[in-house]
């Protein structure tokens, strides 16, 4: 008898790795992704340390491998709505939102986006630029297929336009598409729905939302990326002037019982160091300061990377949490007020750009998915493992596994290793449950 397929929920690097491990060993996989493309947060990052590999460049081959793998079926714009049964025999209902573009016909040529008259804030670029109401999520999207954003499309809102349908050379536009329900029967389920960054607007003293030149780290990743809104030039969002004095603030919303989340987000010290090095690589004359509480250098090669940032690149590390960020109304510069906890003195530092390294928080959709799967969430909304020592990847529901950031912040190699571990568990279930 043919082995039953495995369901992987979430198409970021963890979900992709789990799907590939299982498919490579000969099991069929359904990879369910909520957004129009797989790739997840890693696809939005510029470079990855310590090799400074371009993030999408090392991820894209894996994304495409998924799409070309005979054992993997990708369901984009899809969410798991119902799960019944048990390990070895889960019945799953997946709801696929309409794309209004026929995936089998669209070639991703981009003509429709070019002609579409409606401009919308581009969420994938963290709102730093605009896209059209019909769009391909990003150039390396998988599948490379356009999607109509019906909330902004003139045809859906006002019944006019339809220019995309007239210009599409493939005849792929289909305004009549309806939500579709897909039924699957799978032996096990791997949850890999990832994480998101905190919106730091509520931390009034840092001015995010009031000052355009105060950005989050994920926004910074887009700003510094060659495929980002500025083509990789580090320009101040407020006036487009080149930013060469940059401050990073660590633990924004994190490690605080009063004003946010008590936990450490695990990855910020190192990505801030990487981002600082990126700035220096682009412009060695830049002044880069990282304000931190404890420098988390607990991984392989981390301390060496920080040493290099300090000694070779001249990145300045200051131990202290800034109290306030103000804007000089005349120059438009930002002024960071901080106490250096080593010297005990209060200083101010004038910069062009402030990057807030905000808490990584659980996705709010976890709640609904946890209900559907019968899983528990921790008090911060992350999926709960069966046991942090013995069953890190397992959950209280046999046959349902968690990997990557959906059960807490972690870095890429940890997510990838956990994904392979999830695949091992799923392969074991498959063997146990196949007569």
């Amino acid at each position: 008898m043919m082995d039953k397929p495995v369901l992987v929920i979430g198409g970021g690097v963890a979900g992709i790795q789990a799907a590939l491990d299982l498919a490579d060993r000969g099991l069929n996989v359904h990879l369910v992704e909520k957004s129009p493309s797989i790739g997840g947060v890693m696809a939005q990052l510029d470079k990855t340390f310590p090799t400074m590999d371009c993030s999408i460049c090392i991820l894209a081959p894996k994304m495409i491998e998924c799409s070309r793998h005979p054992n993997i079926t990708i369901h984009t714009l899809s969410q798991v709505k119902e799960v019944t049964g048990r390990q070895g025999d889960f019945d799953v209902k997946v709801l696929k939102e309409p794309r209004y573009v026929d995936e089998s016909r669209c070639t991703g040529c981009g003509l429709c986006s070019e002609k579409c008259p409606t401009r919308v804030s581009d969420g994938w670029q963290k709102g730093l630029t605009e896209r059209k109401a019909i769009y391909v999520m990003f150039p390396q999207a998988v599948p490379l297929v356009a999607k109509i954003d019906s909330e902004h499309c003139l045809y859906f809102q006002k019944g006019v336009c339809q220019v995309c349908s007239r210009v599409c050379p493939a005849g792929a536009i289909d305004y009549t598409q309806q939500p579709e329900e897909i039924s699957l029967n799978v032996s096990s389920i791997i949850v890999a729905t990832g994480i998101q960054e905190l919106d730091p607007s509520y931390i009034g003293e840092y001015g995010y939302g009031r000052f355009k030149d105060v950005v989050t780290s994920l926004e910074f990743e887009r700003l510094v990326c060659a495929s980002g809104p500025t083509g990789g030039h580090l320009d101040r969002p407020s006036d487009g002037r080149h930013a060469d004095r940059i401050a990073f603030v660590q633990c924004v919303g994190s490690r605080s019982h009063k004003n946010g989340y008590p936990y450490c987000s695990s990855v910020c010290c190192m990505y801030a160091t990487k981002e600082a090095v990126l700035i220096k690589e682009h412009d060695p004359g830049s002044e880069v300061t990282i304000f931190y509480m404890d420098l988390k250098v607990y991984g392989q090669g981390f301390q060496q990377f920080v040493d290099r940032a300090k000694l070779h690149w001249g990145v300045e590390y200051v131990r202290g949490r800034p109290g306030e960020i103000r804007r000089n109304p005349i120059t438009g510069d930002l002024v960071v007020w901080y106490e250096d906890t080593i010297t005990g003195d209060v200083y101010e530092k004038t910069v062009d750009l402030v990057v807030l390294c905000t808490t990584l928080i659980a996705r709010p959709e976890n709640k609904e998915l946890a209900d559907v799967l019968g899983l528990k969430l921790d008090e911060w909304g992350f999926f709960k493992s069966r046991d942090p020592v013995r069953g890190h990847i397992e959950t209280d529901v046999p046959g349902v596994f968690v990997c990557g950031c959906c059960h807490g912040p972690r870095d890429i190699p940890e997510s990838v290793a956990e994904a392979s571990a999830g695949a091992a568990y799923a392969a074991e279930v498959s063997r146990r449950c196949t007569p």
Binding site: R25, I58, S67, Y263, D387, V389
Partner: protein
């Protein structure tokens, strides 16, 4: 029969990565005029599904029999383009790549004109080689459904059991006379405070009861030959050398702890112990009697010039033991002297707060002004300068506990030589790719997990072991795989049998045949080319990198296309 050569050239913009600096249309135009080029086109992203489809369409439409992609690096993208060619009916070795991004547009961003000229040169070189490409076959090799796990600690046991549960037979080799590894020495494990014995004992029991796992105690791997699917391993056992034949190998040999002789009075001052020794005391007698004031010192002999890396687990270990001591007797004074707290993530952060809430006193110290420990009559005396308070604290302690670093095993080096896998500069085993292949080695069929790779806590070692078992299980579940076609070929008429290549080969892929001439085992050969370069007779050439092809490429570089 000579077939007409028809080359297609695809030049990638890579968004602005290439297109922003190199004049892609002019490179395409240039390529069109090169000899034997039948077709050329630009792509926004050649690696996108759309770009790959265009390659396939062009192969059919223009009757292409060689494909050149000028884009990024073959390291990440060559397999993708090769597969696209293969799907369109072209042998994957009729593909050649020109790296006009990493080696051109990225390094010449400020000189767009020269970058464009260099891109043309690189394309011309790739075309010159492509004209001489020939199809190559990848031999199929069988994979034995049997794994070898080296190391019988929590990682090795977990990996062995997972392979067993996936349906494979396993050999488990353990250096000591007993399974269990480091966990045998620990009392309780963070963050859940589960007894180490409750974690390790069930694993040991399952392995010992299993008919599918063969355990070799007091044993060491002394020789490894062969390749993925078919390794011949010699294990030195108490009963003499034993030969094993396995398909894959998982390295789970763990790590050790540094004995911090001479640091902070260790070995000299009464009452100075390591966290591991404190743990052993807990395990043996259940608690600490008569210790009112206890000082833990973090980063002992690590994060310094001699040993740069952080041992990852010590801060949380300190929190765990501080909580335990204060739980038992809240009136105790427990100090933790630290540099940067490494209590990452949700659960370890929570332990940090718990320890603080229970009254643990955290004192940050500066690397350049570390604490001092002296032996006094009443016990160890600790002096530490706190930059936060700008004063020196003097603590009369009953006990000082040092966070000694996790260090690589001394036998890593020998094992790395047997397996032909690398160690990093710290002496731990080094994975194939730090981000995307965390448990693979660059050598196919060999995997790594647990603290053999780098310091990590037990939960992390367990899931890494599972990950290694998944990776090792893939080729074994398939039963066969395709070996690389890029291997060396010996011209027996020219080989003089001197054996230089055998000495030089880093993979032990070459042996002497019955006539005393060099013979290459294609499944072992990685195509590195060392033998070809060192052969005094010029008798060795590489498939897909023949002298003729490289000469043509080189001549094209200096304009003699």
């Amino acid at each position: 029969m000579t077939e007409e050569i028809r080359i297609g050239v695809f030049v990638c913009h890579c968004g602005v990565n290439i297109g922003g600096y190199v004049d892609v249309p002019s490179v395409v135009e240039y390529a069109e005029r090169l000899p034997d080029v039948a077709y050329a086109e630009p792509n926004l992203y050649t690696c996108s599904s759309d770009g790959l489809q265009k390659i396939q369409e062009a192969i059919e439409k223009h009757g292409l029999n060689r494909v050149v992609v000028a884009s990024c690096t073959p390291r990440t993208h060559e397999p993708l383009f090769q597969s696209a060619c293969e799907e369109a009916g072209l042998n994957r070795y009729l593909f050649e790549m020109a790296n006009i991004r990493d080696q051109c547009s990225w390094v010449h961003m400020r000189e767009p004109e020269k970058a464009t000229q260099k891109a043309k040169d690189l394309v011309r070189m790739a075309v010159a080689k492509a004209r001489l490409l020939v199809p190559e076959e990848e031999p199929e090799i069988d994979v034995l459904p049997k794994g070898l796990v080296i190391g019988g600690g929590v990682s090795g046991l977990t990996a062995a059991l997972s392979l067993m549960d996936q349906g494979f037979k396993v050999h488990l080799v353990e250096r000591e006379g007993r399974l269990g590894g480091t966990l045998l020495k620990l009392d309780k494990l963070f963050p859940s405070n589960v007894k180490a014995s409750e974690v390790i004992d069930p694993l040991v029991e399952r392995v010992e009861e299993s008919n599918d796992v063969t355990v070799h105690l007091d044993s060491k791997v002394s020789d490894v030959k062969g390749f993925i699917g078919n390794f011949d391993v010699v294990v030195d056992t108490p009963g003499g050398p034993e030969k094993l034949n396995v398909g894959t190998i998982i390295v789970a040999t763990g790590a050790g702890y540094l004995s911090p002789e001479g640091l902070y009075g260790y070995g000299r001052v009464e009452g100075v112990v390591t966290q591991l020794e404190l743990e052993q005391t807990f395990k043996e007698v259940g608690g600490l009697e008569g210790v009112e004031t206890l000082v833990m010192i973090q980063c002992v002999g690590s994060r310094n010039e001699e040993r740069a890396y952080c041992s990852r687990v010590c801060c949380t270990e300190a929190m765990k033991n501080a909580i335990r001591l204060l739980e038992k007797d809240p009136r105790r004074d427990v100090y933790i002297l630290y540099r940067d707290l490494q209590t990452y993530g949700i659960e370890f952060s929570a332990m940090e707060f718990d320890a603080k809430k229970r009254g643990a006193r955290l004192v940050m110290y500066d690397k350049d002004r570390p604490p001092e420990v002296t032996g006094e009559e009443k016990g160890p005396l600790v002096r530490v300068y706190s930059p936060l308070l700008d004063e020196e604290l003097t603590i009369e302690a009953d006990m000082v506990v040092l966070a000694a670093p996790i260090v690589p095993n001394v036998d890593n080096e020998a094992l790395s030589r047997h397996l032909k896998v690398p160690l990093n500069s710290d002496g731990f085993f080094m994975e194939a790719h730090v981000k995307l292949r965390p448990v693979d080695f660059a050598t196919d069929g060999v995997y790594v997990c647990g603290t053999a790779h780098s310091p990590k806590e037990v939960g992390e070692s367990v899931y890494q072991a599972k990950a290694a078992a998944s990776r090792a299980g893939i080729p074994m579940a398939r039963g066969s795989l395709k070996a690389a076609a890029i291997t060396s070929v010996v011209d027996e008429d020219r080989c003089c049998g001197c054996g230089t290549c055998i000495e030089m080969c880093p993979y032990n892929a070459i042996t002497k045949n019955e006539r005393g001439l060099a013979q290459v085992e294609p499944a072992v050969c990685k195509g590195c080319g060392v033998c070809g370069a060192s052969c005094p007779e010029g008798a060795i050439t590489m498939r897909h990198f023949t002298d003729e092809q490289l000469e043509a490429q080189g001549l094209a570089a200096i304009g003699e296309a």
